[in-house]
Symmetry: C2
Subunit: 208 residues, 2 copies
């Protein structure tokens, strides 16, 4: 399998964490790709017209996206404990929490496109504020959900973990732990799992 990959993408992190949990990371060839909404990567776009990472090309040649689809596909191939509950209440809760973490990330990334990618004179504070409201609401929802996380390692907890890790990576000034002590305590432990430790984000533009 081939994965279009960026070491800074939290959605790629999700995919790689699920791959590690499923014992499949050795079977994934990673291809670095730098993509942005204003600068497509031709190789990525040839497989995924949305031009985004992660995109997984399976051994059958099917290009899978977006991260929830790739994660569920990898989970179906793995032989270990499943990160996608097969059905019932456990599945709907895990999928809702995946959507919560992904939604926090979508808002965080739109906030960054507004503040980092867009020329300063075209920035709209009302837009940034609206996205930050979603980030803050999602953080509160994660804090409320943590008592139910227990020792669960599933697509819901993995995604929420990747979301919190992304706030550390790109929103360090935000100090998200303040006001979210349960999430902070949970994340301190969860982020030490081998699958999380091995996938911590790296800024590709950082000085070596």
């Amino acid at each position: 399998m081939k994965l279009y990959h960026s070491p800074a993408s939290p959605y790629v992190r999700k995919v790689m964490a699920v791959a590690i949990e499923a014992g499949l990371d050795g079977k994934i060839e990673r291809i670095n790709a730098a993509v942005s909404p204003v600068a497509a990567d031709a190789a990525v776009s040839a497989s995924n017209p949305l031009g985004k990472v992660p995109t997984l090309v399976t051994d059958d040649g099917l290009a899978l996206y977006d991260s929830p689809v790739i994660c569920e596909y990898l989970d179906s191939l793995g032989k270990g404990a499943k990160t996608f509950p097969a059905g019932g209440a456990a599945r709907w809760l895990a999928l809702q929490q995946q959507a919560l973490g992904d939604g926090l990330l979508d808002a965080a990334i739109l906030w960054r496109y507004e503040s980092v990618l867009r020329p300063k004179e075209l920035q709209w504070s009302k837009w940034s504020d609206g996205q930050m409201l979603k980030i803050d609401g999602s953080l509160a929802a994660i804090e409320a959900a943590v008592p139910g996380f227990g020792s669960r390692v599933d697509i819901g907890t993995i995604t929420c973990g990747c979301a919190l890790g992304y706030l550390d990576f790109r929103f360090a000034d935000k100090d998200w732990r303040k006001g979210h002590p349960k999430a902070a305590a949970w994340f301190a432990k969860f982020d030490e799992r081998p699958s999380m430790k091995a996938t911590r984000p790296i800024d590709p533009n950082a000085k070596k």
Copy 2:
């Protein structure tokens, strides 16, 4: 069940089309909600911190989002033909095509936020052009996928149908049928299904 709903949202359309296919539309109480990234709706945000429609509150009180999660949940409750293939190649193809249609819609809606919601003097053509590139790439991918659609009625074809219907609704000037004859012929028939006919988009601000 309660569904936060907007008659213009293509993601709501997906959910309602799946509900109709599953024979469940009579069990869904629809609550109208007007949401935008710069104007949250308090009732929606109380259930879904991302502040988006569709949001489904189940009879157990769990708030489900986003549309792929809601659609799969409704499909699991339905007794008729399934819109989510249970597994194997059929599932991955249907989920990939759902992501394709949703991705086209995500780009179309970001394009509209840029061009309709954002003040004119803050608009960035490079951003709009980047989103239009994703729309055009997705259209080409749908055109290429149509020979495999056959008579399939699943989450992949329903989502691609909702995406094409949204282009008719909000991008009429684009004339997407030009250059996409297979998609045009397929959609002409598919859009006549009762589940598609009953869910065609309505502009809430249109003059009566």
